[in-house]
Amino acid sequence: MTAQRFFPIAVITLLLLALANLMFGAVSLSVEEVWKGLYASSENHFTIYEYRLPRIFLAILVGAGLALSGALVQGVIRNPLASPDVLGVGHGAGLAAVCYMTFFSEASTRWLPEVALAGGILAALVLWYLCGARSSAIKLAITGVALAALWASCIDFLMLTKPLEINNALLWLTGSLWGRGWAQLQALLPWFVLIPLALGLSKYLNLLDLGDDSAISLGARPQHLRLLALAIAVALTAACVSICGPIGFLGLVAPHLTRKLVGGRHQPLLPATMLTGACLLLAADLAARTLDPPIELPAGILTAIIGAPYFLWLLLRMK
C-alpha cells in the first residue's frame, strides 16, 4: 500500500471507529440518537457529550502520542524492539505519580502530569546512563525491561505499604480511559505542540537511517538530533501516561505496522503512525467497553494482549 492510499483509508477507519465508539457501550444507541445526543435537549446528551465524546478525543490523542513517540524512539535507536514502554519510561512516570500521590496526598492532582513527566524523563536518563549510546539492540531492551521491573516493584511496594492513600493511584495505574473527561483532555492538549516539532525532524531522521558518518557529511548533527527526538518522545509518552496510566505495547506495534504499510521514510511514516495508533487505541477501547458490559476492561490490558504476541513475533524474526 502506498502512502497516497493509506491516508484516506486510515482516516475513514478512524471516523468509523469513532462513530462506533459513540454508538456502542453499556447502552447502545442508533446513529440518529447519537446525532441528537450532541444537543443539550436530548435524553442521551449526558452519555454522548460528557462521557463518550471526550473519551474518543482522548483515545485519539493518546494513541497518536504513544505511537509517534514509539516511531521516534525506533527511528533514533534503529532498534526494532525499542519503544518508550519497553524502555521503562511508562513505569518510571507511573512510579513518580504514585510517589506524588502517596507522599503529598493533600496536594492537588493538577500537577500530576508534570510529576509523571519528570519521572519519565528521569527513567530515560537512568537507562541512558546504564547503557551508554552504543549498546546492542538486545542489551538495551533487556536493561530497559529490568529497569521497568524495578520501577514496577517500587510501585507495588508503595501501593501495598500505603494502602489508604493509594486508591486514586490504583484507579489510574490500570491503563484505562475510564472516567476521563474534558478536564483531562485540556491537561493533555498543550503537550501536543510537540507534534509539529517532531514532524519537522522527519527529514533529519531519514539521514540518521544512513548511518552516523553519512548523516554528518550531509549536514546533520546526529548526537543533538538523537537527544532532541528522544526528549520529545519521552515528554509525549509521559504526558499520555500521566492521563491514562501505562498503556502497553501501543508504541511498539503501531510504528511497525505502519512501516510495513507506508515504508520507512519518516515524512509519511510519522503522521501515518499517529493515525494507526489512534485507530488501535479506539478499537481497543471499544472492545474494552463492549466485550462484557457493563463491566469495563482497562484498554491497556487489550493492547497488551495484542501487543505481546506481536513483540514475540518480532523477536522470532530478528537475526
Binding site: 531492551a141 533487556i142 529490568a146 511496594f157 487489550l302 505481546a308 523477536l315
Partner: protein, 332 residues
Amino acid sequence: MTRPFYGLTIVLAAILLLLLGWWNLFAWSVIPIQAQDVWLSLTHFDSQSISHRIVQDLRLPRLLTAMFVGACLATAGTIMQGLTRNPLAAPSVLGINAGAALGMALVSTLPILYGALSTSLAAMIGGGVAWLLVMLLGNSWRIGGNEHGRLVLAGVAISALCAALTKAVVIMEEDQAAGVLTWLTGSLADARWQTWQHYWPFALAGLFGALLLTPSLNLLQLGEEHARNLGANLLRSKLFGSFLVLLLVGTTISAVGSIGFIGLIVPHMARLLVGQDFRIFLPVAMLLGATLVTLADTLSRAISYPMETPAGAILALIGAPFFIYLVRKRTL
C-alpha cells in the same frame, strides 16, 4: 573451593536459618509474644494461653511454609539456570510465575473449568505452557541455539501477555476476584496447617528429585556437544528438569502465590559462596533460599507494623536491582 569450607558454609547457613526462624516466630506480632513463650509452646503447650496458640496455629505453619517456599524457588531457579546455561533464567523472569497465575485464575473463575482441576495442577499446566512457549521462542530446545538475550525477552513478553489475560479474567469475573488477587501479590500471611499439608509432600519430592539431577546439570555446563559426547541423555535431563521446575513452582504458587526473584538471586549467591559444582551449591542454595524468605516474611510484619506487607513485594524490591546488576555485568 575445598570440601571443609563447604561443610562450614552448610553449618553456618543452617544455624542462621534456625535463628531467623526462631526470631520469625515471635518478632513483630500484633499481640505481643515473648521469646520464651515460643519455647514453652513447643515443649509445654497450654491451650489456654493466647500466645501459645498463636505460635502453634499461625506462626509455625507459616514459618515452615516460608522455609519450603524459599528452598523450592531457589532450587527451581538453579535448575533453570543450569538447563539453559543462562545467568538470567529464573521462574519469574521466564514467565512461569505469570503462566501459573493465569492457570489458577482461569480455573478459579471460569464456570466451565470451575472444579475440573485442582488449583495446583492448573498452576503447573499454566506455568508449563508458558515455559514451553518461552523455550520455543527463545530457541532453547535446539542444540546450540541458545541465545541468552532472546530467551529473556521472550520470557518478558509472555509474562506481560499472561499478566494482561489474568487481569482481564479477574475483572470480568468480579465475584471470585478477591481470592485471585491475594495469590497474585504472593504473601505468606494466610499459610495455615492446611496449606502446609497440601504443600510439603510435593515440595519435598521436588527437592529430592533436584538433588538427583545435579550430575547431569554439571555435565550440561560443559556445553551440549561435550555433554552428549560424555554420554549424557540431554533430552531426558531437560524433560526431567523441566518437570521438576514445574512441580516446584506450581505447588509453591498455588500455596502462597507468585513470589518473584528468589529463583534469580539465590543461585548466584550460592555460586559465589561455594563455587560451580551443582552437587555442592544446590543444597547451599536451598538453605539460603529458605533463609531469605524467612527473613522477608519477618520483615513483612515489621515494615508497616501493625499491618502486613506481602513478602513478595519485599523480595521484588531486593531482586529487581540485582537483576539490573546481572544484566550489566554479563556481556549479552
